[in-house]
């Protein structure tokens, strides 16, 4: 088959399927990054709290998921969460196998990996907040919740943008591994198209170009966000 037809939007073309796959990649990566933000901020909180046990649990979680292959974590979460759900189903009287949807399992897997790294980003961002501001907030009588909302959260988010940008790129690339669970994202579409047209080179290169577009465009988005979030701050050299 001619590759312009194969990649086109005609009846025998895979163009639309590839774009839909890219959208799915984007969605599952966003979900993964968001889940990672939850895990990451919990671990950062545990480490910063000074509580021995919570800190040790956070440390162990981060060390574990930094030391395991991403592909293994994805298999483990995919198979493991379905087994757990099936077990829970049996306890409640449902018979048979209950599968966790590949999207949920994939986003969770990318999320727990990302969370292990995001913990460090959030911890570093928190420590970059000037102690004087926290003291001042307490001095004017802010409670913990108000101080978190007005002083801590806005600054942590600002300082975390560069680190989160890097981890977003990692999540985007890790999401290609979710294709092993059968989720129809960009990598999976490329594989299916490569198999059915017998044009592996064309489709893996096309998939690669779409990944490149996703990573480079989102890199600019993070650059823009960083410039905007720090617009009121002094930059070194200015």
């Amino acid at each position: 088959m001619n590759w312009t037809v194969a990649l086109g939007f005609g009846e025998r073309g895979w163009g639309l399927a590839l774009l839909e796959g890219a959208l799915m990649t984007l969605l599952v990566s966003i979900a993964g990054l968001a889940i990672g933000a939850v895990f990451g901020s919990l671990v950062a909180w545990a480490k910063l709290s000074g509580a021995r046990f919570a800190g040790a649990v956070g440390e162990a979680y981060a060390a574990l998921f930094r030391g395991l292959p991403e592909l293994l974590v994805i298999y483990f979460v995919y198979f493991g969460s379905s087994a757990l759900l099936t077990g829970a189903g049996h306890a409640l009287g449902f018979e048979g196998f209950l599968g966790v949807p590949p999207f949920a399992a994939g986003a969770l897997a990318v999320g727990v990996i990302s969370g292990a790294y995001q913990a460090e980003v959030f911890r570093g961002a928190f420590q970059a907040i000037s102690r004087g501001e926290l003291e001042a907030a307490r001095a004017v009588g802010m409670g913990r919740g108000l101080m978190f909302r007005r002083i801590i959260a806005p600054q942590v988010l600002r300082f975390a943008i560069p680190g989160l940008g890097n981890l977003w790129q990692v999540a985007l690339k890790d999401s290609s591994l979710i294709s092993v669970t059968g989720l129809v994202e960009l990598m999976r579409v490329s594989q299916v198209a490569a198999g059915s047209t017998r044009e592996p080179f064309v489709f893996y290169v096309a998939g690669g170009i779409l990944y490149l577009a996703l990573t480079s465009v989102s890199d600019r988005v993070f650059e823009f966000a960083e410039a905007r979030a720090t617009r009121g701050m002094k930059r070194p050299g200015n």
Binding site: P69, E70, L71, L172, L177, A194, P200, F201, T215, S216
Partner: protein, 230 residues
């Protein structure tokens, strides 16, 4: 799940460890050589060489390793020209193809580490060396390289560890590494967690040792940063 099954699984997985280690060691070493070349082009000052290096880094860091691996393993073989070329016995083999693909990918990351390390060499040191009459290769070997290497170590350790994790992808191109053997045991015995847990433990311990080795090297290379023994 009993102790007998676990030890049996462990022995089988350890049997597959050499494949994982070979892919890892060869791709890291080959990647370092390619990275040295890319870094040289990147800082050469020649516009076309620099553009090539930038494009190389952009492409290999901007796409998932899995896509690169599949382009090399499945993609290239679809060209008759490749199948009839001198390189075919090499590219047909899953092992050498996986090593090549992993090496080219890590080269992009490693060359960014090398470039950062070169940039961190204080200009004063280079100036001092020039003032002593060193130039060219001697300047590089005696002054720039030692400082840059020490500077690069922490990020290099991170990259090397991420490569042990990346070797798990070779299970998708028919190689029998630790992960693919674990998946096969899982399939054959229908035991959900245990084979993956044992495989995870092996990867974790491996990464722990690699990290320790780098901490040791870093310690040996930075005596000047420690307080003097009293």
């Amino acid at each position: 799940m009993d102790v007998g099954f676990l030890s049996d699984t462990f022995i089988k997985l350890i049997g597959a460890l050499p494949v994982t280690l070979e892919v890892w060691a060869l791709s890291v070493a080959l990647g370092a050589i390619v990275a040295a070349g890319v870094t040289f082009m990147r800082v050469s000052g020649s516009r076309p060489l620099e553009l090539f290096a930038r494009a190389y880094i952009f492409v290999f860091r901007g796409t998932p390793l899995l896509v690169q691996l599949f382009i090399f393993y499945y993609g290239l073989s679809s060209f008759p020209a490749v199948r009839h070329s001198l390189f075919w016995p090499f590219l047909r083999d899953a092992f050498s193809c996986a090593v090549l693909s992993l090496a080219l990918c890590t080269a992009a990351y490693q060359s960014e580490i090398f470039r950062g390390a070169l940039a961190s060499v204080p200009p004063g040191q280079v100036e001092a060396a020039r003032a002593c009459g060193m130039s060219g290769f001697r300047l590089f070997r005696r002054v720039i390289l030692p400082i840059a290497l020490r500077q690069a170590l922490p990020s290099y350790a991170t990259e090397v560890i991420s490569m042990t994790k990346a070797t798990a992808l070779v299970s998708l191109v028919t190689l029998w590494d630790v992960l693919s053997v674990a998946l096969k045991i899982r399939n054959d015995t229908l035991v959900t967690y245990a084979p993956l847990l044992v495989a995870g433990a092996i990867y974790f311990v491996l990464n722990y040792f690699i990290a320790r080795v780098f901490v040791f090297i870093e310690y040996r290379l930075s005596p000047h940063l420690r307080p003097r023994p009293s």
